[in-house]
């Protein structure tokens, strides 16, 4: 297999971007990544576009064809990759294999979502809830926050965990987001305020949940050999993994175990010949605070039941034993669904190149992501290294 390098990235501001539509966000991020990678005059072999709800929220199909047309990349192969909120991770995985196999030399990955223009109450909640199992879950009025609420209650009961340990993750991520100029929220919150914010899906409160955001994120990938022509400090993708679990969440033997993450992160670790101890920085999928706690366990950083405690004790802060979400995570950076998986790897790209400014994790050499599709039923992990 060819070695695969990331040679440049693009990242729009995340948040409520009133003057940008979905195609603007995709194209802005793409052009930034092309500029950043010095590939302005290059032909691309393939473009992978990640977006979850283009049809539902933006009434657009064929967005991959639209992107290559608008940014002058015809006749590049162009695909729209959809794997729920893990679409970005899946797009990167597809780009990785297209280069590793030798089929493509130069590939663009871009993800975006345009969400904040929707004003109908419950419509986004409903659109996202289409991820759940129709007959067993969705018809009963389940939402993603309600699945996370049930998971939070089960985790607290099983491991005797107080809510403040879990909610402390939101406080940490807001603190990190303060220093991310692209973040949706750049303000600190207190644990007290978070614990007393409005209930959304008891025991989950508003500040346990990521916002609805607009945003785009893109990267240019090529083989490590081709990368030499464009970039002195590429970041290599050395491990990728993807695995699935039961669509019906309650069919899992233990709700608090993300089997798909255990499997896909092991695939990524094995491919890269790394272990959890080798990881210097992690971008996790904290759509809900409980998810970061459990992901930090199933990625192999902490024992089962100890992820929330570890976060509360500061082990996952920048400067801690394993910094998680220095970007601010989904909670503070925001969660434009299709952009998230790409933005996670972009944060690691900056961290590994020592370009993360005030949120820099010192001497970060190796990083891993968890990009969570569905409610844990389709997860992607990407492992990157500075070489």
């Amino acid at each position: 297999m060819n070695k695969v390098a990331i040679i440049g990235v693009g990242h729009t501001k995340f948040g409520k971007l009133e003057d940008k539509n979905l195609l603007d966000l995709l194209c802005d991020a793409s052009l930034q990544a092309i500029e950043n990678s010095n590939t302005n005059d290059k032909d691309f072999d393939a473009v992978y576009v990640s977006c979850m709800l283009a049809e539902t929220l933006n009434h657009m199909t064929a967005i991959a064809s639209a992107v290559v047309d608008r940014i002058g990349l015809i006749p590049a192969a162009a695909d729209h990759v959809k794997n729920g909120p893990a679409s970005g991770g899946s797009a990167i995985k597809n780009a990785f294999y297209s280069i590793a196999s030798g089929a493509c030399d130069m590939v663009l990955v871009v993800g975006a979502e345009k969400m904040t223009h929707i004003t109908t109450p419950g419509l986004i909640t409903s659109a996202v809830a289409t991820l759940t199992h129709h007959n067993a879950e969705r018809i009963h009025g389940v939402s993603l926050p309600s699945l996370a609420g049930m998971l939070t209650r089960t985790y607290m009961e099983k491991y005797n965990v107080p809510k403040e340990w879990i909610t402390s993750i939101a406080v940490k991520n807001h603190k990190n987001g303060m220093n991310n100029p692209y973040a949706h929220f750049q303000k600190e919150i207190t644990l007290e305020k978070a614990l007393n914010s409005p209930i959304i899906a008891d025991p989950l409160r508003l500040y346990d949940i990521c916002p609805i955001s607009d945003g785009g994120a893109a990267m240019v990938l090529c083989s490590a050999e081709v990368a030499k022509e464009f970039c002195d400090t590429p970041v290599l993708i050395t491990g990728v993994g993807q695995a699935t679990d039961t669509h019906i969440v309650y069919e899992r033997e233990d709700l608090t175990v993300l089997k798909a993450l255990q499997i896909c992160s092991k695939q990524a670790y094995n491919m890269a010949k790394k272990t959890p101890e080798d990881i210097d920085v992690c971008e996790a999928h904290d759509a809900f605070t409980i998810l970061e706690a459990i992901q930090s366990e199933d990625l192999g950083f902490f024992k089962k039941g100890e992820g929330a405690k570890a976060a509360y004790e500061g082990l996952t802060e920048i400067g801690g034993v394993i910094p998680i979400n220095p970007s601010g995570g989904l909670k503070a950076r925001g969660h434009p669904l299709g952009a998230t998986g790409v933005a996670q790897v972009i944060e690691l790209f900056w961290q590994l190149r020592n370009e993360a400014g005030k949120r820099q994790v010192q001497n970060a050499q190796t990083g891993i992501t968890c990009n969570f599709g569905g409610f844990g039923n389709n997860i992607v992990s990407i492992l990157v290294e500075r070489k």
């Binding site: 109450p121 009025g141 926050p145 049930m150």
Partner: protein, 116 residues
């Protein structure tokens, strides 16, 4: 009102108990199953009280959803008739009724559990 029955299936080859939606066994890929039924009391495994419903449930300000388990291992998700005094492990009895109209105006039927 007739008693609400939960129907699952059990793989004839490996014995894995599973939701009837699976066409092949989620554990061993076998395609033959025995029907397994449960009715009467069940136990609340976990629950939440939703205050931000999806638009299909736009007429409700809040409602409780839970996952239950029967003594023979069958599980189900459904709404709960009340949001008051819920507790993991409590006994519930199931019902099946119209829960809402979806955004296309179709009647949506589902499970709803009542504390005993």
């Amino acid at each position: 009102m007739s008693e609400t029955t939960i129907i699952w299936k059990k793989c004839k080859k490996c014995g894995k108990l599973q939701h009837p939606d699976h066409l092949r066994c989620i554990q061993c890929k076998n395609t033959t199953f025995n029907i397994v039924k449960s009715s009467g009391d069940c136990k609340l495994l976990t629950y939440t009280i939703l205050t931000a419903p999806p638009s299909e449930y736009r007429d409700k300000k809040s409602y409780a959803i839970g996952v239950v388990e029967y003594s023979n291992g069958l599980k189900a998700m459904g709404q709960i008739t009340t949001s008051e005094n819920l507790k993991i492990g409590m006994k519930l009895s199931p019902g099946f009724k119209k829960l809402t109209d979806n955004l296309d105006g179709q009647k949506i039927f589902g499970l709803i559990f009542k504390p005993i």
